[in-house]
Symmetry: C2
Subunit: 340 residues, 2 copies
Amino acid sequence: MSKPYVLGIDIGGTNTVFGIVNARGHIVASDSIKTKKHTNFDDYVAELHESVERLLEANDAKDKIQGIGIGAPNGNYYTGEILNAPNLPWGPRVQLAEKVSRAFGGIPVAVTNDANAAALGEMTYGAARGMKDFIMITLGTGVGSGIVINGQIVYGHDGFAGELGHVIVKRSNGRMCGCGRSGCLEAYCSATGVARTAREFLELRTEPSTLRNLNIDTITSKDVYDAAMGGDKLAKEIFNFTGTILGEALADFVAFSSPQAIILFGGLAKSGDLLLKPIQEALDKNVLNIFKGKAKLLLSELKESDAAVLGASALGWEAKYRADMASQIPMSVDTPEVKE
Amino acid sequence: MSKPYVLGIDIGGTNTVFGIVNARGHIVASDSIKTKKHTNFDDYVAELHESVERLLEANDAKDKIQGIGIGAPNGNYYTGEILNAPNLPWGPRVQLAEKVSRAFGGIPVAVTNDANAAALGEMTYGAARGMKDFIMITLGTGVGSGIVINGQIVYGHDGFAGELGHVIVKRSNGRMCGCGRSGCLEAYCSATGVARTAREFLELRTEPSTLRNLNIDTITSKDVYDAAMGGDKLAKEIFNFTGTILGEALADFVAFSSPQAIILFGGLAKSGDLLLKPIQEALDKNVLNIFKGKAKLLLSELKESDAAVLGASALGWEAKYRADMASQIPMSVDTPEVKE
């Protein structure tokens, strides 16, 4: 086999994107299907398999896939399942790895959540190449995180570690969060959090702002970005407010794992200095002395559309490696006991 | 060599305790010297070496020490140094591992901070046996932490990770902390934090309390404990206040690394249900749904006086292992390159 490939699959709320990835981390070809077309999970897997096979044939990659990696909301590395994902239609528990592996004739499959997949992509192909300790923060509709310590994704004892979007940044009178609690980082520093801040600021304050020309109920983080880039003072303050809260939270994360870098990823991370400057200022101001100036604040180096597929593909190589290792363990031989 | 030993050394602000530990984790013999007798570090090492040699001879353990592990405030695992330890007299940077190893004729030495040593002790001999993911919180004069993920202490990229006593639990009007910032967990949930809470409560409130019979300036956490055990309502509220803040913080730590257990250690942890009940309640109330009921709240199973020495001794075995591995790497052979 001269050219081994892996398959990276990113299951999003709207689209499922998959790519054939080579050993150098190039996406040779990719395609997508609609995630929610089938409410029956087996039908979804069947369509996914069919579409992938078409792509493999068109690219002379049939029988060359060594492993499959999948990033999915609430995907669990240990069980290979998706558990209670609020935006997926297949019920509370889906045996993702098992069913996909079976559909593909037994190719090893590994699963993780979308933020961990992005962190894997960044470590393997992006801004975190060569780093053993970093934290990836994904700033999208929500706030996700993938934590790498000693070169490994932190899965925790149950596979669900790394929910930094749900640390509490405001203990009293915090904003309600989708998780049912209040005051979470996600309620302030996601794209929707920025829009909520805009609504709050516009209601509570009286300064003029070009944002007042918009319908307050449908205002988005993109609107705030455009206004700030156009010089709107209130819009800039919204970014300062957001970045300060995030920077304060990052200072606490640094006290936990002392990462070499914190890498920002996702739509909101594209706001550039509008967001980065207040984050960096709050981080510098709030971090414990012993860590001052150490953790670098970086932007993802991967195209957002590629990162999840590349990260999942890195997991595909891991699935292949795990399967190879497992096949080498002679199951019936007694482990020799070491005597003192 | 029929009976290999390691040496565990715990450098505290007052005493340096050392113990000869066997492969089963029994402290065969131990002794101590005063940490601050010598302001010259070489003199300290010379006295330590002399005292240890005496203990080894008395216990027929000479030439049987395989490795030396040392827990010290601000001890750094990567460099083997102590950096800027506020309570030690030897200056800002001390080459601990190197000098101790030299004094002991080249026996491998590994260093970590005191809280990490306690976590290692707990993992090897205590309540965390068999666990790969847990967090140790040390509640003493300060609040320290040792974090274990995937069976390894989290050192971070610089060796200083795990400063959970310095996450911010009160963003505005927080108490000044010894670290120079304000609102740190340590300023509330250490023994001194409890005493500060007592002073605040006594000044701001008017209820009767047996604590009012004491000199408010010298009140200790032990006084508050005694009063609470005697039924004093205000003293109990002080523990509720302390436990609630700690439980809320623990809920955030769970979101980071999803540990199997959180283990409490140190003087204040001996307050029993007075402290454990409010911690558990706040943890249950504040933890993200996906983690509910998962992380167990446990007390250390090691005698406080033994834990640090045992933990350091576990590190001694690691030092021995590292040295053995290093001696097996042929340094002059080129690493073969893998071609695609």
